[in-house]
């Protein structure tokens, strides 16, 4: 069969259609980027007032290693960000974070900047909550 130049599949409207199909496919199947900070808790009631960065508590990291019940039952953390009266003295006494961050279960409290790692100026609360979720209103 003689090959006509116009029948080349990589020319003209066919290429345009193929490219358009690829673009549409990518748009339809492409997933939106995930938010790492989903339920990161910012604690800044005392931190910046005392010359430290706000504390960032990452839920995602801790729940890989501990179930919710460990912190919210055994350690006594209430279920709402900012509702716990936490300060470093209590942590040093082995309460709240200090129950694990004691160089025994997890690294100790002398690693100040691992927790006090937040961007200055943030208020206490949950970050990264879904727009239709409760924390978006808190």
């Amino acid at each position: 069969m003689p090959r006509h130049p116009k029948s080349d599949p990589f020319s003209g409207w066919r290429t345009a259609v193929a490219v358009a199909l690829l673009v549409v496919t990518g748009l339809v199947w492409g997933a939106p980027p995930a938010e790492a900070e989903y339920a990161d808790v910012v604690l800044n009631r005392l931190s910046e007032a005392n010359g430290m960065r706000p504390v960032i508590y990452p839920h995602w990291f801790h729940r890989i290693r501990f179930r919710c019940k460990v912190c919210h039952s055994e350690l006594g953390f209430k279920m709402r960000a900012g509702s716990n009266d936490i300060n470093m003295m209590k942590l040093m006494d082995g309460k709240y974070c200090g129950m694990c961050h004691n160089n025994n279960v997890a690294w100790g409290l002398d690693n100040c900047h691992r927790c006090h790692s937040g961007r200055p100026g943030m208020e206490t609360g949950v970050r990264g909550g879904h727009k239709a979720g409760g924390p978006g209103f808190w």
Binding site: I64, K69, S73, R114, A132, G133, P135
Partner: protein
């Protein structure tokens, strides 16, 4: 005819080429220095684990932070500890509740088991939810304000846009009782006791009370 066949072949090529793009894990989590929460100048930032490193191996979810946490726990992708103190009693309750007061939406099935695998009874009862079935005044508008289920769903659990995950029971086909579903299996928490409400008449039992802890 040749053109038609060529067109079909091209369409096939497009689909074949595009499938790996769909199958590949498209999840990407922001690096800590770019997450708008951490201070990029923080002196210990390099000590911290990045979310992508930990989460990319966990089962995928289309909502929330893109991880199916219940699946991850149940199928052994993660083995989070249940307690720190050896004397702590670990409670797991396998009891579903069917809520019928859902307006035009399908009924809600609340499964205690995936919740108690993560949480302890006291995390929800009695402060957020009364143990008495239908005793808490749950409304969707309040959930959307961050009360009841909304305290966790939308923050650490799948968001409230995932309607059908809770509103999962069709009123057209549901033939059971409302409230607690059947007896508590033997493998559930000893603290759950043996009391199991039942409504054999199949009518709504607003006073059906799940077993107390």
């Amino acid at each position: 005819m040749v053109r038609v066949w060529r067109g079909l072949w091209m369409l096939l090529c497009v689909v074949v080429l595009a499938f790996p793009a769909q199958a590949a894990d498209k999840r990407n989590w922001k690096a800590l220095e770019k997450d708008d929460v951490h201070d990029p100048q923080g002196p210990s930032l390099q000590d911290l684990q990045h979310p992508s490193e930990a989460l990319k191996t966990l089962p995928s979810d289309g909502a929330g932070n893109q991880v199916d946490w219940v699946n991850a726990l149940r199928n052994g992708f993660i083995q989070p500890r249940t307690n720190i103190l050896p004397e702590t009693q670990v409670n797991v309750l396998d009891l579903d509740l069917i809520y019928s007061n859902t307006g035009d939406q399908p009924f809600v099935r609340f499964p205690h088991r995936p919740h108690t695998e993560w949480l302890d009874c006291v995390n929800c009862h009695e402060e957020i939810f009364k143990t008495k079935f239908n005793g808490s005044g749950i409304k969707m508008s309040l959930i959307l304000e961050g009360k009841f289920c909304g305290q966790c769903h939308g923050a650490v659990a799948f968001p409230l846009t995932e309607c059908k995950r809770c509103h999962s029971v069709s009123p057209d086909t549901f033939r059971g009782q409302f409230g607690a579903q059947g007896p508590v299996p033997a493998q559930s928490a000893p603290a759950a006791g043996k009391s199991s409400p039942s409504a054999p008449d199949g009518k709504q039992t607003p006073n059906a009370t799940p077993p107390k802890k």
